[in-house]
Every structure is written in C-alpha cells, then in structure tokens.
Symmetry: C2
Subunit: 342 residues, 2 copies
C-alpha cells in the first residue's frame, strides 16, 4: 500500500493545470464558470496524473480491477433468445454497480478463442478477474487459465471446474425433486427436454433424471437433447407428442422451451394440465405470463449472478474462498402440472 | 502511423525472453514443449513489450479502440426481463467479434451517473467510443459528452440526439402502419400500451398514435403508460378489458407485454382474435411460440445493434457519417389479429 501522501489529489491536478481546486471541481461537475480551453487543460492534467473525481485513491495502475471479464461461447443470435443470460448478467451488474465497476463482455466462437481472449485481457490488464461459465466435461480452459494466474470464479459444479473457486446450483437435487413431484402426481411416462450433454450441467441433469426414474421403477422416459431455443423446444415437444408412447409429463431445461411446449400443446389440441403436465426450469417472468401459468423449478438467476460476482471480489481481495452452492432450484407449482386424467 | 520496423514482433519477445520464436509460439498456443518457468518468462516479456499473438500491430497504446462502451440506465432487474436489450447486445457483439473487440457494459442509476462514467471511461482510455441509448427529450448527456469529444453513435431519432451521428427506427411510420392495419380490419376502439413518455421513442410513438387515430376519425383510444415489463403489460391489459369502453384491439410497445396481454385475455375468457386483437412490437421468438401466435410490428433488433456498431466503427475510422434509419418495423400478421366479431 502506498502512503496517503503519495496519492494524487485534486490539489495536484489543480496545480498541474494552473487553476484552483474549485475550477477542477466545476470542470468535472459540468458546471459553468470554466472556459472550454481551461476544462480541456484540467482533463489533460487529470488524465496525465491518473486522477478521477470521487476516486482519488484509484490510479491508472489499478484500473484493471475496476473491470471484470465475461466471455460466453454461444452464437450471438442465440444469446438474445434465452432469458437466462440477461438475468445472470443483470445480477452481475447489480454487484458491479455497487462497487463502481464495469463488465467486459465478449461472445466467442470456441473455447480456444476464449483462452486467447482471457489471456490477452489479463496480460494487457484490461480486467482484474473473470467469471468463467458453461463448463464442459474435461474443459480445455482450465489448464491454460490456471497457468496464467488469472483470478477467476467458475460457474459450475466443482467436478467440472478443475480447482477454480466455483459457485453452482445443485442441479441433480433439483431434478430429483422435479421427477419425484411428477411421479407423486401419478405420472408414469415422464419425458425430459434438455440442453446439449456436452455442457457439464446438462450432463449432470441427464444422469440424475435417469437414476431417479430407475429408482422410482419408471421406464426410462425419452430424453431429447436440444440447444435451448424456443424453436428447438417446440420441435422436441411435437416429436414427443407424436410418439407411440406419448408422455403425460415433460420436464424442460429452461423456460422458453416450456413456453414453446405450451404453444405446441394448444396447437395440437392437447389439454394442459389435463392431458399433459409441463414443468419449466429457471422461472423467469415468462412462466407467470402464460395461460395456464407454468409450474417451474424456480431459480433466482439474478441472485446467482450477484453471488458469483461477490465471490469474485473475495478472490480479488486475496481472501481464501471455498466453492459454494447457491440455493437449489425449488419447485413452484402453478397451473401447468396436475395428476394425469385417468 | 509508426513504420513497420517499429512494431513489436514475436522476434522481439523471443529475444527478450531468451528463447526461440518457436518457443513463444508454443507457449501462446498452450502446446507442450516449454516448461512452466519458461512460459512465465515469455508471458512476462510479451506483457512488458505490449505484444499479443495474431495482433502484432496492436500495442498497448491502442488498446482502448478495442473496447466499446455501453451504459444502460435501467434497473438491473428489469434488464433481464425484456428480450430487446439482449438481442440488441447480441447484434453489437456480432460485429465486435468480427473485429476482435469487446463491449464494456454498465448499468447506471441515472443519466448524471452515466455522464461521469463515460467521462472516466474516455479519460482513462478504457474505451475507444460509446453507443448511447434511451434518449430522453432534452437529454442532459448531450452537452457534456459532446464537450468531451467522445466518439459516439446515438440510438434514437435525430430530433432527440443533439448532433451525435444517430441510427434510429422510424417509429412514427411503424405506428401509422399498425393503426391503419387495425382500422382496416374494422376496429374502431384501439388502445395502446406504451412505454414511459419520458423516453423519446415512446413519446414519438404516442404522438403518432394520436394523430393517426384522429386522421382516421377514430376516438382517441386509451393510452396506458408502463415500464415495459410483463407484469405491467398484464395490469394495463386487465384495466383496459375492465373499462366501460372496452377496446377491440390493443397495440403494445414490446412483445413481452403482448404475451402478458394474451395470458390476461385467456384468464378473463376473452377470445383472441375473435373478441380482441393483439399486436406486439419487436417480434422476438416469443411471438411465434404462443398460441395463438402473435401478430407483430417486426423489427430486426439484432440487425439494429449490428448496424449501430458498424456506424460507430465508421466514426472511429474518422469517416464522415450521416445519421441513418434502419429498416422501419413492418407488420407481420399472425393469429392474434382479425376483424372484430360483429
């Protein structure tokens, strides 16, 4: 830590620009009373000295800690379609705003591209640390990013995140609750419409689904793998409803796919919940806007993003951080689930 | 422009680290063949010289051009609720990715906070330019940010954006088309559920709505002002359907509110489109997932974000840029609009 006397103050800026402290304050507060030329001189002096208002302890050498990185490996178009990431980012931003920090956001085409990007962000001091998401099994980012010494928090189960401090949801426990609830209502043919199993959390849910079905003595219901978009959810639902062994209940991996499932059921004249129960995941406001409203495995995605960010600041402060789960998604029954009609 | 000979190359990094060029390449490509200690030395040399792979022409002094700023003045929770911003950001990211650039994203609580933030970003060279959104009438950001010389593109009608090069949608023309279409179907009582009129584009739509209704000889239908969330759209729809002069058609300012309106109609036993026509705005995938599907003023929000970003790069390249509209939102009739039942 530098001694307070070494800090650049408003006085230094005033002296360098040859004006009073009051003039510096006026310039930075967009008040009249300083000419354009003087204001430019003040800004130039501040820039040179690395001084900013309300943050006199901050210097350019520390600037990177003000910025957190987030790279997401999904096609740009898809990102706009799913409420999850926007809610997650809004949670990150809520904590960053408290600390006057910003998010450096980038969509990448591959995990290899993300590795190069994080490395450059870190080496060029554009970021103080990163939030790593969408872990794959045997994720290729782990070794190079750990080797770099990048301060980071991983979003994902510790079995996937290779030693990074991690924050995760207990997806397996939530799947068990979802399947047990549907079985308790009397459903025997339960299907699941899930994300790509290359993603670690989709794989964890798939295994939990199969194991729970088996434990309950139910036939392994059909799994359909998708890419999380509404269109894919609609297609998967249509194919399930056309199959010989039509399920009486479907568990979805997000909520946009469940909304799409509801539309397909209406289009095919299948009554929800009498002939078909639908159970969503994530529970954004969408689930409360449909008719019937959608039962969901409810998950505070905004709070999840906020907690991940708080943990990252712990890491940046040099504290010992343990990996930690956020609250497990919990069942919110609404109008789309009921006992199957005999 | 510096002469090519002044550029830092992989050769300089290799020399500074006391290794071969091949070793530098191995280290940066995460290949085996260099020890951890050597890799660290190579990274340290690259950091010191400001060199990065595949971007040897880039130096630390140019780093700010690699980053574009976007500050959004909405509560964090709300940001996650509306598809618009995520689609807009995905469009921005699609162009940034082509140019190996990143987005610095920040939620702010007030326009005054945004002014300080943009100023700091610019002075500290964290950004090369900004995308300015959500213009208000007599927007307070214009004077200070223009005074700063910040390269920026404004998203909004030129009447609102005070001399910044701007990209906008012709909201007035789209409202005229929407109202004329509903009137041509035979609707006389048309209501509008819009955003806050403090926002410039909401005000433009409100005026266009009233003028068109008047020109068509229709009574000024009720306007309801909301904050764009589904809950507010549901509440507005309920109050319209309970009013003595119940409208037979409702035009919404986004799509999440129209989805909510559809849910309210179903809940109140009002048949869509027989008893009530609903027309959405923005047309994310949501409009195609509901049953009935939602007619919408369709708008390529992803393409809008992409075009804004391309214009900003023109500004950054020092080219003369004219303000320009993107394609006007156009009517996509689906199942939620029809002639009113006698």
């Amino acid at each position: 830590m530098s001694a307070p006397s070494e800090r650049v103050t408003i006085k230094d800026v005033a002296a360098a620009a040859g004006v009073s402290k009051g003039a510096v304050s006026l310039a930075f507060n967009h008040k009249p009373g300083v000419s354009d030329a003087t204001r430019e001189r003040i800004f130039a002096a501040a820039r040179q000295l690395g001084w900013a208002p309300n943050s006199s302890a901050r210097s350019l050498s520390r600037q990177s800690v003000d910025t957190i990185g987030l790279a997401i490996c999904r096609p740009a178009r898809l990102l706009g379609l799913e409420p999850f990431y926007m809610e997650f980012i809004s949670g990150i931003e809520s904590v960053l705003a408290e600390r006057d920090c910003s998010l450096l956001l980038r969509l990448v085409g591959s995990l290899e591209e993300e590795i190069s990007l994080q490395e450059r962000w870190w080496r060029e001091r554009q970021i103080g640390g990163s939030i790593l998401v969408d872990f794959h099994q045997e994720d290729p980012r782990i070794a190079p990013l750990r080797g770099l010494g990048l301060p980071a928090v991983a979003v994902g189960h510790p079995t996937l995140t290779g030693g990074f401090p991690s924050v995760w949801t207990d997806d397996a426990a939530a799947v068990v609750e979802a399947v047990r609830y549907l079985a308790a209502l009397g459903h025997r043919r339960i299907a699941r419409v899930g994300g790509p199993t290359g993603l670690g959390h989709s794989a964890i849910r798939a295994v939990a689904f199969e194991e729970t079905m088996e434990q309950l003595g139910l036939e392994g219901g059909p799994h359909v793998e998708t890419g999380f978009s509404g269109e894919e959810g609609a297609r998967a639902t249509r194919s399930l409803l056309l199959s010989a062994e039509r399920p009486t209940a479907i568990l979805y991996d997000n909520d946009i796919m469940a909304v799409a499932g509801l539309g397909v059921a209406a289009e095919m004249g299948v009554s929800v919940p009498d002939d078909l129960s639908l159970l969503a995941w994530d529970d954004s406001q969408l689930c409360r806007l449909t008719h019937p409203t959608l039962s969901a495995m409810s998950h505070d995605v905004h709070g999840f993003g906020a907690q991940v960010t708080r943990v990252l600041f712990e890491v940046l402060a040099g504290h010992e951080v343990l990996s930690q789960p956020v609250a497990t998604p919990s069942l919110v029954p609404r109008a789309s689930t009921a006992s199957p009609r005999a």
